[in-house]
């Protein structure tokens, strides 16, 4: 049975569990459902969960573990020296899997009988051609080892699938019977169902965390590989960025870091005052009618894809700044500049800051404002001296979150800031950022084994640490200065 059919079978067992457990529970009290500890529905759901979930867990584990086991046993077909090498093994296994699935297709289409597929040998003719006939394209001629491995792979996969079906159904069936036996009037089905729900919620919340951990680990391992190939001190303190795939690259972080921070700074200078003032206007002064129109309009900006902002930077803002400010003042002649990218990222961040700050200002209790107004303060005195201080921790948090967005922004800087890695104070010069260089080091057909590509992971790790640091700092500020107004 294929995995899909198996899952459907589990659902069927679950539904049977629902119906039978519910029926049994009601029957056990002679139809008087008031005597049940839990509502009949809960007994039903308990039956469903028992029929469905244990089988599903076993199936999921099996699906993950089986390929790993089979792969391990493929070693006997190959030269151990080759098989030990990580890269080689991955390539070999990819070949084996492709040939195996080619044989599967051939059998399905009737081009080969099951027996032929199991016994076909390279000596009898080109396997590649036979597979090509049924539409399975292979890159190179199949070696005897790979073919044998593929045949063994197919056989083991078939055995595995058979046992998978048996074990899964056995587990599901016994759990189902257990649920049926447990069900009676006093059985606490409600508590058990709620425990399962709790587990479900926990699982959902761990997925995001585990993904983050996974991302960090994968980046970390590549970044560590980079550090074995390139002196790490040169990476962190190098003032030159000039990668060349032929060797002799200089991969200094500082020019990129400088560009990143400079552009972020410009963007924050744009976004923080405008965003904050917008929020104050919306939260304190705007009439409900104005607010109902303006707030969604501002938030439309947040919905524009950043690549569109990039185009805006490239086509409109960049030339505008060059022709009207940079060239007349003699400060630069480049269409792409720190100013362009910073300005556009700033605009991108306005709704982010204004929307968050608006919520935070609204969360300041009205009693606080009344207290100040009741003392004869004007509205603006109240806002400056009472509302904003009370909202400050949240606002700082919002600003720091916006800062980490600015630091991580890629598309706008790619189009607006240029690709020249340099350290310069002039904001009308083209500079570049960490994100842009990560993209440019990884685009194209490159292998992940030279410092020039692996540096992207080190850059990514650096970026991650910076933004993580900012976020942690933001949370710390928010916690430390959170005011307890009820």
């Amino acid at each position: 049975m294929s995995v899909l059919v198996l899952v459907l079978a589990l659902v069927a067992i679950g539904i049977a569990g629902y119906v039978l457990c519910r029926y049994r529970a009601v029957a056990s009290v002679g139809g008087d459902t008031k005597k049940l500890h839990s509502l009949p529905t809960y007994h039903g759901w308990h039956g469903f969960i028992m029929g469905f979930l244990p089988g599903l867990v076993v199936l999921a584990l099996w699906v993950v573990v089986q390929p790993l086991l089979i792969e391990q046993r493929m070693g006997r077909f190959f030269d151990p020296a080759v098989f030990e090498d990580d890269t080689q093994r991955v390539l070999l296994m990819a070949d084996v899997r492709r040939v195996a699935s080619g044989l599967d297709t051939a059998v399905d289409l009737g081009a080969l009988s099951e027996q032929q597929a199991a016994q076909i040998r390279t000596e009898f003719g080109s396997v590649r051609e036979r597979l090509a006939e049924v539409g399975v394209a292979l890159g190179a001629e199949v070696t005897p080892e790979v073919l044998q491995a593929a045949q063994s792979y197919r056989q083991q996969a078939a055995t595995g699938a058979l046992w998978r079906t048996i074990v899964t159904l056995a587990v599901a069936g016994s759990a189902f019977l257990m649920a049926l036996r447990l069900t009676d009037g006093a059985f606490r089905a409600r508590n058990r169902v709620e425990r399962v729900m709790q587990g479900l919620l926990l699982t959902a919340s761990t997925i995001a965390i585990l993904t983050t951990v996974g991302i960090v680990l994968s980046m970390l391992s590549e970044a560590i590989r980079f550090s074995t190939m390139y002196p790490i001190a040169d990476f962190f303190f190098g003032l030159t960025w000039s990668p060349s795939f032929g060797g002799g690259s200089q991969l200094g972080l500082l020019p990129l870091l400088w560009g990143t921070l400079y552009i972020s700074l410009v963007s924050m200078i744009v976004a923080v005052p405008i965003g904050l003032f917008t929020a104050i206007y919306l939260a304190e002064y705007a009439s409900p009618r104005v607010r109902a129109v303006v707030k969604p309009l501002i938030e439309v900006i947040a919905g524009i894809p950043t690549v569109v902002f990039g185009l805006f930077a490239l086509v409109t803002v960049g030339p505008l700044i060059r022709d009207w400010i940079a060239q007349p003042t003699g400060l630069g002649s480049s269409g792409s500049s720190v100013m362009t990218a910073g300005l556009v990222i700033g605009i991108l961040n306005i709704p982010f800051i204004s929307s968050l700050a608006d919520d935070i200002i609204n969360a300041v209790p009205q009693a606080m404002r009344d207290g100040s107004l009741g003392l004869g303060a004007t509205k603006s005195e109240t806002i400056r001296q009472v509302v904003l201080p009370a909202a400050l921790p949240g606002i700082v948090g919002a600003v720091l979150l916006a800062a980490s967005r600015a630091i991580g922004e890629t598309m706008i800087v790619t189009m607006g800031a240029g690709a020249a890695a340099k350290i310069d104070l002039n904001p009308f010069e083209a500079m570049t950022t960490i994100t842009v260089k990560i993209v440019s080091q990884l685009t194209g057909d490159t292998e992940f084994n030279s410092p020039e590509t692996l540096v992207a992971f080190a850059l990514g790790m650096t970026l991650f640490v910076i933004t993580l640091g900012l976020n942690v700092f933001a949370l710390y500020i928010v916690r430390k200065y959170r005011e307890q107004y009820e």
Binding site: D370, L373, L375, A377, T378, Q484
Partner: protein
């Protein structure tokens, strides 16, 4: 009619601080206050009592134009502070509120130090020309723990801080909107004691749910019911010898 005239005569012997005549308040379509006229006397505590939703807090908020901050509220009629119409377009409500201070139902200290809480009013009104003068004003109201945050105090202490904050601005009238409803009996007793002291320098108006409290702290009591001012007179008279049957029912616990 006889009663009303008698009432007016007794009131006339003291100096009138706030005079309200024919005040109506509308919240949108709701007619919250109906033709209320009250004279609030100087150096006295006046209590507004009545069942929930009778309009006593609404009327209180007319006296320093706090209803201006509610966009749907509309006030008509004539309210005078020392003979000056407070709803005159030339009157700045902000300045008015400096003269008519307010303490709210729930203690609402600002998230600042105790010192800054008390110094808030004097600072914005420029009552102190130097740091030393400001210190003097603050220390008249609050003695110790000045550097601690006002929000860290207990409920009763917070409310007393709010009162101190209100009187640091040296208002002439102090409005208190159920200042003890969130407090325990001990804190309530402390606040009531404070109110009694305040009478020497201010005219105090207190809205309260508790008739015992009105009886304890006030010299004058006004009874509101369904937006009407039913009866207004000396506290002792209201509680022992009410003229209106509705007042009597409320005081004896039959309505409300």
């Amino acid at each position: 009619m006889e009663d009303m005239r008698l009432m007016e005569r007794t009131l006339a012997t003291n100096q009138v601080k706030v005079a309200a005549k024919g005040v109506d308040v509308f919240y949108g379509a709701t007619h919250a206050i109906k033709d209320v006229s009250v004279d609030i006397l100087d150096n006295m505590v006046t209590a507004f009592i009545g069942p929930s939703g009778c309009g006593k807090s609404t009327f209180l908020r007319c006296l320093n134009r706090m209803n201006d901050t509610v966009s749907v509220a509309r006030v008509t009629g004539d309210i005078r502070l020392d003979g000056e119409d407070i709803y005159d377009p030339r009157v700045d409500p902000v300045q008015l509120r400096a003269r008519v201070g307010m303490v709210f139902q729930k203690p609402n200290p600002f998230p600042k130090s105790i010192y800054d809480n008390v110094a808030y009013g004097p600072k914005i009104h420029g009552l102190a020309r130097s740091k030393a003068e400001l210190d003097e004003i603050v220390e008249k109201e609050a003695k110790d723990r000045l550097k601690e945050p006002g929000t860290g105090l207990s409920g009763g202490q917070q409310q007393r801080l709010c009162i101190a904050r209100a009187i640091a601005t040296s208002p002439e009238v102090l409005l208190m909107d159920e200042p003890c409803s969130a407090l325990d009996p001990i804190a309530t007793a402390q606040v009531e004691e404070l109110i009694d002291e305040l009478r020497a320098n201010f005219s105090v108006v207190i809205v309260t749910h508790s008739m015992q409290q009105a009886a304890r702290v006030s010299q004058r009591t006004a009874f509101f019911h369904l937006g009407n001012l039913v009866e207004y007179g000396e506290t002792g008279q209201i509680f022992t010898n009410p003229r209106d049957p509705r007042t009597e029912s409320y005081i004896s616990g039959r309505i409300g």
